[in-house]
């Protein structure tokens, strides 16, 4: 089901940045996959996948890259790019292996140079021998070529070394391209070999690179003139020197007599593989890609002027296309537009899918996008009104769970898909998590600070989040995630509760207040956000446990009411509001005083409190008991500090700077 591989440009190490660029160029800017198939906009020369480009253009009528107005008729296929991508995709792994290979090679070379220096025999580093122990296991997706290689700088004189290192042991287990063989070499052969050993009928071939040549592992991929390669057009085996002529003559049938070594083709095929390098080459050249293209004769569909069509006419069109024709006109319209996209993109493919599959894809698309029960559609409405929609979702959930069973099945299905997706990509997530943790460690070691903003992402990356079987996927609307679920992220719980209580708060509060909160543009955020923070505090702690603390706070608040900051007032007010509805009026009053103060309270007192807060912020605000203590402490501090002379802004900056350092 999830048949995509997660390759990306960062597979290439940083020092090979040009490969990253190259890789990036062959990827669709929209879906980030390799272009399949490539379409180019003739007007602006921007390109993308067929489906992605068509989709963007039908939805927005612009080029996704430059926002130039564009039309689907301007799209043109570029099969050259497709061919390049095919070759590249098939050989990407090899390139990565070679990069790995070269890296190790370099490392070993340095090591060996050191070794040989110890031997103090060597004054000439030009001649280098590659002793390779290649173990390629090419089974399926999990291919990881482990290439162990020792590359020694050697001198003809150091025979002892040669005897041990010149054993080329090539062991390849692969899906057919490689034959398993072992090539051995009995030293002292340095000078016997030249590149013409392809004509050698001996299957045991010495893999000795010529001196001065070995630093370029790729160089021998260039076939020598006498070597045979497959003609990319007709797949015959042709000598390299004859290849151009052969192709110019439109691939006439080559007679086997032309083979100078009189080897049968079959034998040649096997012997050519015996050389490690020609095995690479074979893999590259024998790609059955560049075959002549069969022109796709399927006519592309054109989009319709839906406004001019009646519902029955449109239905008939859908029926003629053999795609589902239920639903109202708008649904049919969207379905048709999507089908045109899928169909036309399919036409661009070299191996188009069957109509059946397209219809399946269409149905799936529709299910995800339009069904009312779809968690996604709900998700779409989510952003519009953050709090209310959350609240509504709560209601919908109960409605759904008692609702139609079909919806439940769909949800289960989607659920399952997501589960299996998570399972199948566990390793990817693990990898990411590892990466981040590594980075975190680096940072931690450089600066020994425990609480920083950057640590927070780490909290989020708890493995349990992804793989907890008991936790429900958050858009599984049939079952609300129990808040007491320990494994869910703190953050989430906090947010959920917070939104709930916000709703509660708004419902409880009077409409006039609501209206005012909208009017007062600048003050509103202060109030609102404080609401949140106070709720968070409440949520995380057991209410009863802390009721003492809160009452304490309240008392403090009353005492310091006159000179404390507006901030604390707000906090206490909010705490109360969530604690007990009956004290609503009380709070309202508090609120008024606070607002009033907020207006007038532009004195330095305020600043002090802020600074204090800034310092407090560096401590995790989720830790409740601390928080409460702090706020108590705060009040005292405020009382003390209020006597102090005003603090200038520059001081504040200094303190801010301290805090920043702490954070980082």
């Amino acid at each position: 089901m999830f048949d995509f591989d997660l390759t990306d440009i960062y597979d290439f190490p940083e020092e090979y940045g040009s490969f990253r660029d190259f890789d990036n160029l062959l990827r669709c800017p929209i879906c980030k996959e390799f272009l399949n198939p490539t379409l180019i906009l003739t007007s602006c020369q921007h390109y993308g996948c067929s489906y992605c480009m068509r989709k963007t253009i039908t939805e927005m009528n612009i080029c996704p890259m430059c926002r130039h107005s564009a039309d689907a008729t301007e799209l043109q296929k570029v099969s050259l790019i497709d061919d390049i991508i095919k070759i590249y995709k098939n050989n990407r792994k090899i390139i990565l292996e070679l990069i790995e290979f070269k890296k190790k090679n370099n490392n070993n070379r340095i090591n060996n140079v050191l070794d040989t220096k110890q031997d103090s025999k060597i004054d000439n580093h030009k001649s280098e021998l590659d002793s390779k122990d290649i173990n390629l296991s090419d089974d399926g997706d999990t291919t990881m070529a482990t290439i162990a290689l020792s590359d020694i700088s050697s001198q003809v004189g150091t025979n002892e070394k040669n005897d041990t290192f010149l054993n080329d042991n090539i062991e390849q287990n692969s899906n057919g391209d490689f034959n398993s063989k072992s090539v051995s070499n009995n030293g002292n052969n340095d000078n016997d070999n030249n590149d013409n050993n392809n004509n050698n009928n001996n299957v045991d071939i010495i893999d000795n690179n010529q001196s001065g040549n070995s630093s370029h592992e790729f160089s021998s991929i260039q076939p020598s003139d006498d070597e045979f390669v497959q003609c990319p057009l007709c797949l015959q085996n042709i000598q390299v020197k004859r290849l151009n002529r052969h192709m110019d003559l439109n691939c006439p049938k080559e007679s086997p007599l032309n083979d100078p070594s009189n080897n049968s083709l079959n034998f040649f095929m096997s012997s050519s593989k015996s050389d490690n390098d020609s095995a690479w080459k074979n893999k590259i050249f024998s790609n059955p890609i560049v075959k002549p293209k069969i022109k796709n004769k399927t006519q592309k569909l054109r989009s319709l002027a839906y406004n001019l069509l009646t519902e029955s006419k449109l239905r008939k069109i859908l029926k003629d296309l053999k795609i589902p024709s239920h639903g109202d006109k708008i649904l049919m319209q969207k379905r048709h537009a999507e089908y045109v996209n899928i169909f036309n993109a399919n036409c661009d493919l070299d191996h188009p899918k069957s109509h059946q599959r397209l219809v399946e894809e269409l149905k799936r698309w529709e299910k995800i996008n339009f069904e009312t029960s779809s968690p996604f559609s709900k998700h779409n409405s989510f952003p519009k009104s953050f709090f209310s929609s959350r609240h509504n979702n709560g209601h919908n959930i109960s409605a759904n769970s008692s609702g139609s069973s079909q919806n439940d099945i769909d949800l289960e299905e989607i659920n399952k898909e997501h589960q299996s997706y998570l399972q199948s990509h566990k390793s990817d997530f693990d990898y990411l998590i590892k990466q981040i943790k590594k980075r975190e460690k680096k940072k931690d070691s450089s600066e020994d600070k425990e609480t920083s903003d950057k640590n927070e992402p780490e909290d989020l990356i708890d493995l349990d989040i992804f793989y907890d079987e008991h936790s429900h996927i958050s858009f599984n609307s049939s079952k609300e995630k129990p808040i007491k679920n320990n494994k869910s992220i703190k953050n989430k719980v906090v947010r959920k509760k917070q939104s709930d209580s916000d709703d509660e708060y708004y419902e409880g509060s009077k409409p006039s207040k609501k209206a005012r909160s909208h009017k007062t543009n600048v003050k509103t955020p202060t109030k609102r956000y404080n609401t949140r923070s106070s709720h968070i505090t409440l949520d995380i702690n057991d209410d009863k446990q802390n009721s003492e603390d809160f009452s304490n706070m309240k008392r403090n608040e009353e005492i310091s009411n006159n000179n404390s900051s507006s901030h604390n007032t707000i906090e206490v007010y909010e705490v109360l509001s969530s604690e007990n509805e009956s004290t609503e009026k009380n709070k309202e009053m508090n609120y008024d005083t606070k607002e009033h103060k907020n207006d007038t309270n532009n004195n330095d007192n305020n600043h002090i409190v802020e600074i204090k807060e800034v310092q407090n912020n560096s401590i995790d605000n989720i830790d409740i008991t601390k928080k409460v203590k702090e706020s108590n402490h705060n009040n005292e501090e405020i009382e003390n500090k209020s006597v102090e002379p005003p603090i200038v802004l520059s001081d504040e900056d200094v303190i801010m700077g301290d805090k920043i350092e702490q954070k980082e």
């Binding site: 779809s374 996604f376 559609s377 998700h379 779409n380 992402p457 996927i473 956000y529």
Partner: protein, 152 residues
């Protein structure tokens, strides 16, 4: 196009996540909020030389199911005093609205937001008070810090 659109969005987001992690751009970060890949939380740090320097802002990113063909919904969850950010945290940024393009991604959004912090568009403010105050950096900064810290 080997999968349907609903899966394309996860695939694309997966890819973006990978790229974002590997790119390691200083000052911005984002990660899926939970097991739902359509909902992320991000952090933006104010760029040096701006009044937001040293402050970090949390944002929430909600991706529609037809992402990237329509823009994600981005909100500040940390209160932000900014001409183009309203009291709810909604952001007025053209590339998140009508100027959205399918080639934009989380990384570009985060970077755009970071630069929006330093260079607000005062012609179409959501927070007129902030827009008026923008010319007085000292006062503006005071407000920024005050509101930023009011969350904690």
């Amino acid at each position: 196009m080997n999968t349907t659109e609903g899966l394309n969005v996860t695939k694309r987001l997966q890819n973006e996540l990978m790229q974002l992690m590997m790119a390691g751009i200083p000052g911005v970060s984002a990660f899926p909020e939970s097991d739902n890949l359509l909902s992320w939380v991000g952090t933006i740090e104010g760029a040096p030389g701006t009044v937001y320097h040293g402050l970090s802002y949390k944002i929430s990113l909600k991706f529609p199911v037809n992402y990237p063909y329509s823009a994600p919904t981005i909100k500040f969850t940390t209160p932000c005093f900014h001409p183009n950010v309203d009291s709810e945290g909604n952001i007025c940024l053209d590339i998140l609205k009508d100027k959205w393009s399918a080639v934009y991604n989380v990384q570009t959004i985060l970077l755009s937001l970071q630069s929006l912090l330093g260079e607000p568009n005062n012609d179409s403010p959501l927070n007129t008070y902030a827009a008026q105050m923008w010319d007085k950096p000292e006062e503006f900064k005071k407000h920024v810090i005050k509101i930023h810290n009011s969350a904690n």
